[in-house]
């Protein structure tokens, strides 16, 4: 009975939510300074106030657009480069050290550098692309390498066309790697995209609002915008998981 209650979907969601809200409320009460740690009630009230303003939605949608644009460009280019890498060994030789260097470089270095190159609105898109593309590339290269050689031999003997080989052998083998790359890189896209917005401060940006909250010591706003980022990231992760699951079902047929 007890196990049943704990395993219930809503209990699994609500129990930790209330638990951590209670800890947060208790800690805010102990600190006693809204500037250092605002209470959940104050953050909630500020959230309700902001949600009622059209600017909130414009800012949220603008950041969402930039980050998703960078994400999709990263997924597409990562996929394309992985296919090229599979076809031409030279691509792997040239790309491998570059991708390793990109992954090892602190994201803030790229942000500061690209601030000089691009307009402030383009910086978050570029940074998200730069963070997503190597993850997708690396996963897809591993996915393509995981293809069952025996099935490829079978396809050769039975004279499958290129399209059939791609659809029935490569896609099913690479799909789990693609799923994992998308989920992993989506979280990183939000983190790096918002960080880029904080430093680039484009017009209409969640990062810009975080920057303002820091400058004007509006700690409740900092909490509200951070919560918006977390919620959007989790929501999009859910949407992408659903989309990929649906795609995964139809892909092999």
């Amino acid at each position: 009975m007890r196990t049943f209650i704990i395993n219930h979907k809503w209990v699994k969601f609500l129990l930790p939510a209330f638990f951590y809200l209670a800890i947060w409320g208790w800690a805010a009460n102990q600190v006693g300074q809204e500037l250092l740690l605002p209470s959940p009630a104050l953050v909630g009230a500020r959230f309700m106030h902001l949600v009622g303003q059209s600017a909130f939605w414009h800012i949220t949608l603008a950041s969402l657009f930039r980050i998703m644009l960078g994400f999709f460009l990263g997924v597409l280019s990562g996929l394309g480069l992985a296919i090229l890498t599979h076809c031409f060994l030279l691509c792997e030789v040239l790309l491998s050290p570059l991708i390793r260097a990109i992954r090892a470089t602190p994201v803030v270095s790229f942000i500061l550098l690209t601030l000089v190159w691009f307009s402030s609105a383009a910086v978050p898109v570029f940074i998200v692309w730069l963070m997503v593309m190597p993850i997708v590339w690396q996963n897809m290269v591993a996915g393509i390498a995981a293809v069952d050689r025996q099935l490829l031999e079978m396809a050769q003997v039975f004279r499958f066309g290129r399209g059939q080989i791609m659809r029935h052998i490569y896609v099913p083998a690479a799909l789990p790697f693609f799923f994992s790359a998308c989920i992993t890189s989506l979280g990183l896209a939000w983190k790096s995209g918002i960080a880029a917005e904080v430093l680039a401060v484009p017009v209409l940006a969640i990062g810009g609002k975080l920057h303002d909250a820091k400058v004007y010591l509006e700690t409740p706003d900092l909490f509200v915008w951070t919560a918006v980022v977390i919620c959007l990231s989790l929501f999009l992760e859910k949407i992408i998981k659903l989309a990929l699951r649906r795609f995964g079902k139809v892909a092999p047929l």
């Binding site: 025996q150 079978m154 499958f160 092999p252």
Partner: protein
């Protein structure tokens, strides 16, 4: 024109698998290469299906010939149904070949739900259904009940072996004697014909 290996040479590293191997296949019937595991029988089949190229020597009469094969492993596409696995090689007569191997009622199930014997039958049906000039069977009856194997092989002899060569490779002397029209005992490596 008959297919014939002429002074075929093939090595993996220092290990010679085919050395001056020559043999002419009959134009039809079940030709059984019977010999111990590891003597080079599968390699011989792979020189016919194009997966391996001879290092020297030649195979005459193989130009433009299409092969179908039952591999030692089932090599089925796990995400496709039994019907789809066959439809990839023969879309028109898919159900007919599933019926021939007794899998018609499982047409919409995936090989991942099949027993070892059912997977084997599906692999045989795929090779049988494919448009080919040469049918290669590499240990096709592993894990299959004898009665089923006999039933399937009798049909293959009746419908396929009367028109084109069916090459059966096995280490099982019972199977070799029971199903072959031409029995070729081999040893190796390198593969050599011991008796025929």
């Amino acid at each position: 024109m008959s297919i014939a290996w002429q002074k075929a040479e093939l090595s993996f590293g220092n290990k010679k698998i085919l050395h001056q191997f020559s043999y002419t296949l009959p134009e039809k019937g079940v030709i059984c290469f019977f010999g111990p595991s590891g003597c080079g029988k599968t390699t011989l089949l792979h020189t016919l299906n194009g997966l391996l190229k001879l290092q020297s020597g030649q195979i005459l009469g193989l130009e433009q010939k299409k092969c179908a094969m039952v591999f030692q492993e089932d090599r089925l596409l796990p995400q496709l149904t039994a019907w789809q696995n066959i439809a990839l090689v023969n879309e028109q007569e898919t159900m007919l070949y599933l019926q021939k191997v007794g899998l018609a009622e499982f047409a919409q199930q995936k090989p991942t739900d099949f027993s070892g014997g059912m997977k084997r039958r599906l692999a045989i049906a795929r090779a049988w259904a494919a448009d080919s000039d040469l049918l290669l069977l590499d240990e096709p009856f592993t894990g299959l009940e004898e009665s089923l194997a006999s039933h399937i092989m009798a049909q293959i002899k009746l419908e396929v072996a009367c028109k084109k060569p069916v090459i059966l490779v096995t280490h099982d002397s019972q199977i070799a004697k029971k199903y072959s029209d031409f029995l070729v005992a081999v040893t190796g490596p390198p593969l050599q014909i011991a008796a025929q």
